[in-house]
């Protein structure tokens, strides 16, 4: 592991790893990181996989929108309406460019879950004949198959279970190997001519394992299946170019990438969005409405019914610019360095086992672990007492946990603002957990 870590560090340096001064400057951008907790302890925030903290530029962008520009977007002829619309669409440009797509391919959603549901319900509507012959490619019927993976967050599993139930299609899935990586070797047998959708995560929110997207896309194309990528965990931590990845749809959220809650984005290949029937209908997404019938606006507006989350979108745009300015190569390099530290920390404590890959290759700084004899909740409580915030539970991925025979894990996740010192505090606190519960090294209990 040491040599791997050194290699990671070398790679990080050449890629422009943040030095101490730069990292201190980044941290200074996040007001919350300097607060203290019960007993005056400094906060060690290792729960960015659940939600990230927000830099001042994001908070300012939202505030500035309300203080300076607030008005209804895409309607009204007054100056404020123009400025509000510009801010809203400028944010779309920033987020689209951040993930390598055109603004016309980026639909605002309330979160990533809503984005995935939007695709699933559009397919449902197409299956009922909505959208006409152009939407036939989205229609599902008995005999068709939807393929997901055992690694999925419930957000990229339950909508497909429901779609299968509504259309009579069959849900199938790719399993996981013992490292928690998706069994890409099963692609050829599970993804077949019957497969209409292949929905998979870019990076697991539990194991941190990064999916070899190209292989999945290639197989989906061979059989003519649409690909839907859950990019929630990848977009905040890696350079992501959705056009280069070649997926048909991708969903990600604002709040995990330093942006506000209440906003996310759905990417859809332009040609597909144009053919896709709407889901939520009403104001703002129409062209001509009569008492009998309605024609719909072109995408992305076709999928943005009702008043939008404008200030949050503006905040998400600011977050994308902030990350772009840091440079996603530098962010990824810094986090790759932290991945090594996190894995070392967990490996150094007896009786602690990682659920996921234990080497630093092709994984994020997301490390889920089990402490023998101590439930994840109790682990989290003792870490909290040292000021260390980790996630405990099933992380909305019950099937993955079941695959590994555990009900819950504790999970430490790093982000661009995480420091080596924080991981040292985590390591020390983790080392005390089993002793606190009266377990000695090697006893297992």
């Amino acid at each position: 592991m040491t040599s791997t870590l050194d290699e990671t560090r070398d790679a990080a340096r050449t890629a422009g790893l943040l030095d101490d001064v730069e990292l201190a400057a980044v941290r200074a951008d996040f007001p919350l990181l300097s607060r203290t907790l019960r007993g005056g302890r400094p906060l060690v925030y290792l729960d960015s996989g659940a939600t990230s903290q927000k830099p001042e530029v994001v908070l300012d962008a939202e505030q500035d929108f309300y203080v300076q520009r607030n008005a209804a977007v895409h309607r009204g002829a007054h100056q404020l309406a123009e400025e509000a619309t510009e801010a809203f669409e400028d944010a779309r440009d920033r987020v689209a460019s951040f993930v390598g797509v055109s603004p016309g391919e980026l639909v605002w959603t309330s979160n990533a879950t809503a984005g995935i549901n939007l695709v699933a319900y559009a397919m449902s509507n197409a299956s009922l004949g909505r959208g006409g012959s152009a939407a036939e490619r989205f229609a599902l019927r008995a005999g068709d198959e939807i393929v997901v993976t055992e690694a999925e967050h419930h957000a990229n599993l339950v909508p497909w279970q429901e779609l299968a139930a509504r259309t009579g299609a069959t849900l199938r899935w790719l399993g996981l190997d013992d490292d928690g990586r998706i069994r890409a070797d099963e692609l050829d047998t599970v993804v077949t001519d019957r497969t209409k959708v292949l929905a998979f995560t870019h990076a697991s929110n539990v194991t941190g394992a990064i999916t070899p997207v190209a292989r999945f896309v290639a197989r989906a194309r061979e059989v003519g299946a649409l690909t839907v990528l859950d990019a929630c965990q990848s977009v905040p931590h890696l350079p992501v170019d959705l056009h280069a990845l070649g997926v048909d749809f991708a969903a990600f959220s604002g709040h995990k990438m330093l942006g506000p809650t209440g906003v996310g984005a759905l990417y859809g290949r332009r040609e597909l969005l144009e053919a896709m029937p709407p889901v939520t209908t009403g104001g703002s997404m129409v062209e001509v409405v009569t008492m009998e019938t309605t024609t719909y606006a072109p995408p992305p507006q076709r999928f943005e019914a009702g008043t939008q989350m404008v200030s949050q979108a503006v905040g998400m745009g600011a977050a994308a610019s902030y990350l772009a300015e840091l440079g996603m190569d530098a962010v990824a390099a810094h986090e790759a360095h932290l991945t090594g530290l996190l894995l070392d920390a967990v490996a150094s404590v007896p009786g602690v086992r990682v659920i996921g890959p234990t080497d630093t290759a092709d994984r994020l700084a997301t490390v889920a672990f089990v402490v023998d004899g101590v439930h994840a909740h109790d682990v989290g409580q003792v870490l909290d007492d040292a000021g260390v915030a980790v996630r405990v539970g099933h992380h909305c991925a019950q099937p993955l946990h079941r695959r590994f025979g555990v009900a819950a894990t504790a999970r430490a996740t790093a982000a661009v603002y995480t420091t080596d010192e924080e991981i040292a505090v985590f390591r020390e606190a983790l080392a005390g957990v089993r002793a606190f519960f009266g377990l000695t090294d090697g006893s297992g209990a």
Binding site: H377, D378, D385, G393, H394, A407
Partner: protein
């Protein structure tokens, strides 16, 4: 390492019950008893408990049996519940459940001496009330008990007044 608040939360009584739980293991009651069973899950963490309660004709709890998996707080709480409610009638059990809920809502302040004496080992859970995320853990078994009692079909006799 600890600020002392961990020792307050994880009282020795709780750790002991978690390690050596009472009443564990489901089964079948004698034919003259009415059994209610309830399965409860804490969806945020996946903790779960299946609890069976046996009532006799006089409305007295004859036994509580349970299976479950979860954190030390949730498991110890069911174990303590088992010790508390067996041999009490429905009104007394309702009173215990209400008192325990009140303890959880006290934000760590605790209850008066009478109430805490009534709760016995369960008074050790006082510190849990300070951690709102953990209150659900401590209540999991009590929610199962309430539901299981309803499933016995038993009705309460009016309180003496």
């Amino acid at each position: 390492m600890s600020t002392g608040s961990m020792e307050q939360l994880y009282q020795q009584v709780i750790l002991d019950h978690a390690k050596f739980p009472h009443g564990r293991g489901l089964g079948v009651a004698a034919a003259d008893l009415r059994t209610g069973e309830s399965h409860q899950v804490n969806p945020t963490c996946g903790d779960e408990v299946t609890l069976q309660v046996d009532l006799d004709d006089a409305g007295v709890v004859r036994d509580v049996r349970w299976e479950g998996q979860g954190c030390s707080i949730s498991q110890a709480s069911v174990s303590v519940l088992h010790d508390l409610v067996v041999d009490h009638d429905l009104n007394a059990v309702d009173d215990l459940a209400d008192t325990f809920r009140a303890l959880m809502q006290s934000r760590g302040a605790g209850l008066d001496d009478d109430a805490e004496e009534k709760l016995g080992d369960a008074a050790a859970f006082t510190g849990v009330g300070k951690y709102s995320a953990r209150v659900k853990c401590a209540l999991l078994g009590w929610v199962a008990l309430t539901d299981a009692l309803i499933k016995t079909g038993a009705t309460r006799t009016p309180e003496d007044s």
